[in-house]
């Protein structure tokens, strides 16, 4: 069967979000019925998860016709490999971030018992990324950015309302102070790992995933051992439900792989927008969950409506955030006496530049930029370009409309 690439992208993106929703449902089911202690559950899931992920990575390393199965998912993947020294510190940071975020995630699941609300909480991460960017670069966020992050935050708070119309302050505290900050740490370092070069080839996502899980498991074990000694022993006891954990982590791995594959086909912003559909998928699944477990999702119609409005706001906010962007080509002429490769490296370090190419022709370098607004393009890119030595002149060409082969 042949599918058009464009449809393949949407199929992969939507499949990944649907699977993501299923994982959260499975996790909620386990935490409601079998393992009520979130600390023990978190540790047990990682211990089982590292085993199943290792097996899956080994399967992906099997070469078929000179190319490993994994290479068909991520072209930079060869086989499962050992960690490089330069990756270590980033993996340590990402591991701490993921371990903390996951413990917080299971705490929230056991508090709210509502997957659709829990998935909304993860989207607040936008707000934090924006804050960090504003502080680190002394760069005021644009109206569109402020707007969509506020919409997402308020939406998540709305969907967190409890049955009696009360706000669970402890839960929100965990969401705002633990879950999202540690998730930010995790995503920043994961991105750093992704753009790192290993043997003059881009780092592949399958190895990153495996090693991240490895360090996350270590840190989770340490955290649980020192903070909740009783849960530590309980975790080994609940490992008898290993088949559930295998399903949860195995399915997570596939959701992740489909996401990576979609990312390779389409634009990151669109992929992110499609991924936010996870929340929508979780709604019908939450109802099914409410049927088979003693979980009560909502009590009255008013409560259901408030939750729905919250969820719609979150999805809308993420989509509008992902899709507002301005792109431009910059044609650069270099001065003689400067090595083009050095200028390229300097331009590549400017934030907002998505690709740089040395070309033969009228110009010397062509760069492509992606920013939120033209104002930011000036602040970030043009000012930075003016500082790069060796650039004689540059022309800015704003993209009005674009078609891409996906």
């Amino acid at each position: 069967m042949r599918i058009r690439k464009k449809y393949l992208f949407y199929v992969l993106g939507i499949l990944s979000s649907a699977i993501g929703a299923i994982v959260t449902i499975i996790d909620t089911y386990i935490s409601v019925i079998y393992v009520k202690d979130p600390w023990a559950l978190c540790l047990a899931i990682f211990l089982a998860g590292i085993i199943i992920t290792f097996i899956l990575c080994l399967i992906l390393s099997i070469p078929i016709k000179g190319k490993s199965i994994g290479a068909r998912i991520d072209p930079s993947f060869r086989k499962l490999r050992l960690l490089r020294k330069k990756e270590l510190k980033y993996h340590l940071a990402a591991g701490i971030g993921n371990a903390t975020a996951t413990i917080a995630y299971f705490m929230i699941i056991s508090l709210y018992k509502d997957p659709s609300a829990v998935l909304s909480f993860f989207q607040i991460v936008i707000l934090y990324l924006l804050l960090i960017e504003s502080i680190a670069e002394k760069n005021a966020p644009t109206l569109a950015e402020v707007q969509s992050s506020i919409v997402v935050t308020f939406g998540a708070i709305l969907s967190s309302f409890s049955l009696k119309g009360e706000i669970n302050f402890f839960g929100l505290l965990v969401v705002f102070l633990i879950l999202n900050p540690s998730w930010v740490v995790f995503s920043i370092y994961q991105r750093k790992l992704k753009i790192m070069k290993i043997d003059s080839c881009y780092n592949d996502s399958i190895n990153i995933r495996f090693w991240n899980l490895f360090f996350t498991t270590i840190f989770t074990t340490i955290f649980v051992y020192f903070i909740r000694r009783d849960a530590f022993y309980l975790a080994f006891d609940v490992l008898k439900y290993w088949y559930f954990f295998f399903i949860s982590m195995g399915v997570t791995f596939f959701s992740y792989i489909l996401y990576i594959r979609a990312l390779g086909l389409g634009k990151a912003s669109v992929t992110q927008a499609v991924k936010s559909l996870t929340i929508i998928f979780s709604i019908p699944l939450t109802f099914i969950l409410a049927k088979i477990t003693p979980v009560i999702v909502f009590e009255s119609i008013t409560h259901a409506i408030i939750k729905m409005i919250g969820i719609i706001l979150v999805v809308l906010g993420v989509i509008s955030f992902a899709l507002t962007e301005v792109k431009a080509y910059i044609f650069i002429k270099a001065k003689t006496g400067y090595a083009a490769s050095q200028i390229i490296d300097k331009i590549w370090k400017i934030k907002g530049i998505t690709s740089v190419a040395a070309v033969a022709g009228r110009y010397d370098i062509i760069a492509k930029a992606r920013i939120r607004t033209l104002g930011k393009g000036y602040e970030r890119i043009i000012r930075a370009l003016e500082k790069v030595k060796g650039i004689e002149s540059f022309e800015w060409q704003s993209i009005l409309k674009e078609w891409e082969e996906i």
Partner: protein
């Protein structure tokens, strides 16, 4: 694999027709309409310089194209 940027200038009023023809061509990675010195920027992906010549020939033969400027990529860094 050879990649190149083809910068295109069109005669006033022909942009839409040129774009429609352009989207039918093969070996093209992306097409962008820009505001600046050029009108359209095409990123081409071909197997050989000969294929690149065939592609630029095809673009030249589209009615409404005024001038093209091909920039062959020597080295590229992409996120």
């Amino acid at each position: 694999m050879i990649k190149a940027y083809i910068l295109i200038l069109t005669y006033v009023g022909n942009l839409k027709v040129v774009l429609e023809e352009m989207r039918k061509l093969e070996n093209i990675e992306s097409i962008a309409v820009v505001a600046g010195d050029y009108d359209i920027i095409v990123k081409a992906k071909v197997n050989s310089l000969e294929e690149l010549m065939e592609l630029t020939d095809k673009i030249h033969s589209i009615k409404g194209v005024k001038r093209t400027n091909t920039q062959v990529i020597e080295k590229e860094i992409v996120a």
